[in-house]
Amino acid sequence: MVKEIERYGIPIVHMSTITTISESVGANRIVPTIAIPHPVGNPDLPAEEELKLRREMVKRAVDALATEVSGTTQFE
């Protein structure tokens, strides 16, 4: 899905936990996430800290869209 959407010339960032799969399907912008059942979250953290972590991750994803890349790039 990532690849087909990017084919239209729209930048897309893949937020995924198993980044090896993400790379093998050809995503160009990847933000590694926390865990499979809660990629953009961590229920083990206190609510405030989880929110902080989530804000950081989404901001990183948005920033990735504003970053030129020449091939598969992980934004960690």
Binding site: M1, S16, T20, I21, G26, A35, I36, A66, T67
Partner: protein, 349 residues
């Protein structure tokens, strides 16, 4: 062979009879028993070899803690020193396939012990290990277990006994991409002309060297000004409005859905997950943990991004065929393009 060859077996938490998605985060363990498919596999060895034990690890644990999991697994294999390791079959299960693939790669490369596993041709784990392990070709679901085990057992027996394997299609494994020298009864020019004639006549022909397919998409140019950009949110995490109004499948999705999120600040409260491939507890509590609409709306309010696109797109990415994923991506991408969306965040579980 006087002595039976020794097989160690690897399965995930489900086939290891520990539990379903709620147990997907269990650490690796070793049992000196034949568990799940190891039993059926063992009986297919017809007494020539024996499964001496079963390694079990949760799919999520393996993929999220690969180094720790591999260390434990390699140690157990080293201690038991089997003649061959057998993993799966993983069918079209992505995380299980990645585990089988990574283990196969590590065992062959680091311990020099051969590995047989089984996968569906679209399993993402295949690329990890196909060139160094033998991967039996299976169906996409566990319904193919009864067919897969005898094929895997036959391959394992041949390898353990040091016999040479035949060609992939004869033995039922996925081609490794190796080229072999063999004698043909007709010379090359004649074979090529025969192929060409068959092709021109719309008859069946078979190439002797299939070309690898490379399909990469160039990265789209970056967004120049985030504060004016419209960002769309897409997920394969199966997040849908309560009641799943469009009946999107929990696995092997046949369709996608889009929902108006222009008037809400978060998915929490109205949405939940119908994805059948992960433990739903955390996503049901806060679906924004899978598709972070709440944070994107915050960024919109702060003016960091221009706008969150009014529709949220969703489907289920477990057991979904590559064909359908391509179709969904093409359809969703077309809508986003026409709507003038500037960038997309796609989350996967």
């Amino acid at each position: 062979m006087a002595n039976k060859f020794k097989v160690l077996y690897y399965v995930n938490q489900f086939f290891g009879q520990i539990g379903g998605e709620d147990k997907a985060d269990i650490e690796p363990m070793y049992k000196e028993e034949k568990i799940g498919p190891a039993m059926g596999f063992d009986s297919n060895l017809k007494g020539e070899g024996e499964v001496i034990g079963t390694l079990i690890c949760g799919d999520n644990y393996f993929n999220e803690n690969k180094e720790e999991a591999l260390e434990y697994i390699l140690n157990v294999i080293k201690e038991n020193n089997p003649d061959i390791l057998v993993a799966g079959p993983a069918f079209n299960a992505g995380r299980y396939g990645m585990a089988c693939g990574e283990i196969a790669k590590a065992v062959v490369e680091e311990l020099d012990i051969p590995v047989v596993t089984g996968m569906y041709i679209e399993n993402p784990g295949l690329e990890v290990c196909r060139s160094i392990a033998i991967v039996a070709e299976t169906t996409d679901s566990a319904a193919g277990m009864r067919k897969a085990l005898p094929v895997m057992a036959k391959l394992a027996t041949k390898i353990a006994k040091g016999e040479e394997l035949g060609l992939p299609e004869e033995e039922g494994y996925i081609p490794q991409g190796k080229r072999l020298t063999l004698f043909a009864d007709k010379r090359g020019s004649q074979r090529a002309v025969e192929m060409l004639i068959a092709r021109l006549n719309d008859k069946e022909f078979k190439t002797e060297l299939p070309m690898p397919e490379f399909d990469t998409v160039d990265p789209a140019p970056a967004i120049k000004d985030l504060s004016k950009a419209t960002i769309a949110l897409v997920t394969s995490g199966g997040i849908v409005p309560h009641g799943n109004p469009d009946r999107i499948q929990s696995a092997s999705a046949q369709k996608w859905g889009k929902y108006d999120v222009s008037t809400i600040d978060a998915l929490a409260g109205d949405y939940y997950t119908i994805h059948g491939g992960y433990d739903p507890v955390y996503a049901n509590e806060i679906p924004d943990r899978v598709a972070p609409l709440d944070i994107l709306k915050e960024l919109e309010k702060e003016g960091y991004i221009g706008k969150v696109y009014e529709y949220f797109y969703t489907t289920t990415g477990t057991g979904t065929s590559v064909g359908n994923a391509v179709k969904f991506g093409t359809e969703i991408g077309k809508e986003l393009k026409e709507a003038g969306v500037d960038g997309v965040i796609l989350t996967s579980t």
